[in-house]
């Protein structure tokens, strides 16, 4: 159907503008549901939805085009690859494993006894490269409920991937630490991070020969030289 100028531009008394308000994203979820319910039985609004939708869809095209930052892709793809790998491993379908599955060990809760982890410990960990590369299993204790963490190891380099992690308090960041066996204090790294709104982050863990644990704590912006709060993630390296 093609509209004439008269069809499209003449104001419609009863519902004038409601479809525009909906299409521009100004209604909340409840308001949107109510409008769509109304539009099912209102020819005027139904016509407006069809007629005005393409105009709203064209609006992003008026924006100067910028290059997306490459680090955003690294974060997103790290989470996607991790979740794709997990889905593949938990799929009920029998599938040929593409990676070498190494046994998972239960996370050590000894650290909780040592006062490093808060209550409500969730078990995270178990990182296996999903793409047919080398499998690598670690275990991790994760304090924030619902959060998951994976430690990817490849070629001697470690990457920590977190999902559903709450943002640190205002003025704080998360800081990555490494610890040697028997070492009393963890060593600080330059890796500071704040998860995205969805709780995702991917962080490089600097090489520390002989390190046995990777830890994350919440620290004041800029990081600390010594931990000022309990560890909320502890990943045990083999």
């Amino acid at each position: 159907m093609s509209e004439t100028h008269d069809d499209l531009l003449v104001p419609k008394e009863d519902c004038c503008g409601e479809a525009a308000v909906y299409l521009l994203g100004l209604l909340d979820e409840r308001g949107s549901e109510m409008f769509l319910e109304h539009a099912r039985s209102c020819a005027l609004c139904s016509d407006d939805l069809a007629a005005l939708g393409p105009a709203v869809d064209s609006l992003p095209n008026s924006v100067p085009q910028l290059a997306a930052p490459p680090e955003a892709k690294r974060h997103v793809m790290a989470v996607v690859r991790s979740e794709a790998g997990l889905a593949m491993r938990t799929s009920p379908r029998p599938a040929k494993a593409r990676g070498r599955l190494v046994s998972m060990r239960r996370p050590s809760l000894a650290l909780a006894g040592a006062g490093l982890l808060a209550a409500g410990i969730a078990i995270g960990g178990l990182a296996i490269d999903s793409g047919g590369g080398t499998s690598r299993v670690v275990s991790a204790d994760v304090a924030p409920a619902g959060a998951t963490v994976m430690l990817h190891e490849s070629g001697g380099h470690n990457w920590l991937t977190v999902a559903k992690m709450p943002k640190p308090s205002a003025g704080y960041v998360y800081e990555v630490w490494v610890k040697r066996p028997g070492g009393a204090l963890p060593q600080p790294t330059d890796s500071l991070f704040t998860p995205t709104n969805s709780g995702a982050a991917m962080v490089f863990v600097p090489d520390r020969p002989g390190a046995s644990e990777v830890m994350v704590t919440q620290e004041p912006a800029g990081g600390s030289r010594l931990p000022t709060s309990p560890a909320i993630i502890v990943a045990h390296l083999a």
Partner: protein, 204 residues
């Protein structure tokens, strides 16, 4: 020697998928294909980031919106329905919703201003593919059509769409009845649609 995880060397893995249309890729994404998702990401990340940056005005906020958008796309890919529009439009609607959420939460400080931080690069002009040329022509047409609207109509549309202000907030801001704001929005969008349709007719 262990091989690097695939997310650091994606080019080979997703090579065959570059020839697929967005809708075909989404079918693979719905089946959990991360390589197909990566192609979708590469195709639309610049447009998504550009819209997010236009709305948020800050690189960090726009980057958050960009990442959240594509994780929503990955995790909610089953909700994509090709009968309701293109993949690009679906992605940009997610960007818009997430950016509006950020604006209304107050995580973006200044909703009125559009900051050019200078730290973000424009899409490189040297990569002058046919697709980019067509994109620039379309952008020019939309900007022209938007700029051709009466200022009072363009203003309410921009405040609503890019500023994330509700019609009630706009009415208060511009000191006019809510009905007038809604009417201007509708009339402006209708004119925009007709102008773009006319230009499309001329160019085809």
């Amino acid at each position: 020697m262990p091989r690097a995880p695939r997310f650091f060397a994606p080019a080979k893995a997703s090579a065959g998928r570059h020839k697929l249309a967005d809708e075909e890729l989404m079918a693979l994404v719905q089946a959990g294909d991360a390589d197909a998702f990566e192609v979708v990401y590469d195709r639309h990340c610049n447009a998504a980031f550009s819209l997010a940056y236009r709305m948020c005005g800050r690189r960090a906020s726009a980057e958050d919106v960009l990442q959240d958008t594509f994780l929503v796309l990955w995790r909610s890919s089953a909700q994509y329905d090709r009968s309701r529009g293109s993949v690009r439009n679906w992605i940009l609607r997610i960007v818009h919703n997430r950016a509006v959420d950020a604006l209304r939460r107050g995580t973006v400080r200044d909703r009125h201003a559009f900051h050019e931080e200078g730290a973000v690069e424009r899409v490189a002009g040297s990569e002058n593919t046919e697709e980019q040329t067509l994109g620039r022509e379309e952008a020019s047409e939309v900007r022209g059509a938007l700029g051709g609207l009466p200022v009072e109509q363009r203003r309410v549309i921009e405040l609503a769409y890019f500023g994330g202000f509700t019609h009630t907030e706009i009415a208060s801001m511009l000191q006019m009845p809510v009905g007038t704001v809604k009417g201007r929005m509708r009339l402006g969008l209708a004119k925009l649609r007709l102008t773009l349709a006319a230009e499309e007719g001329v160019s085809s």
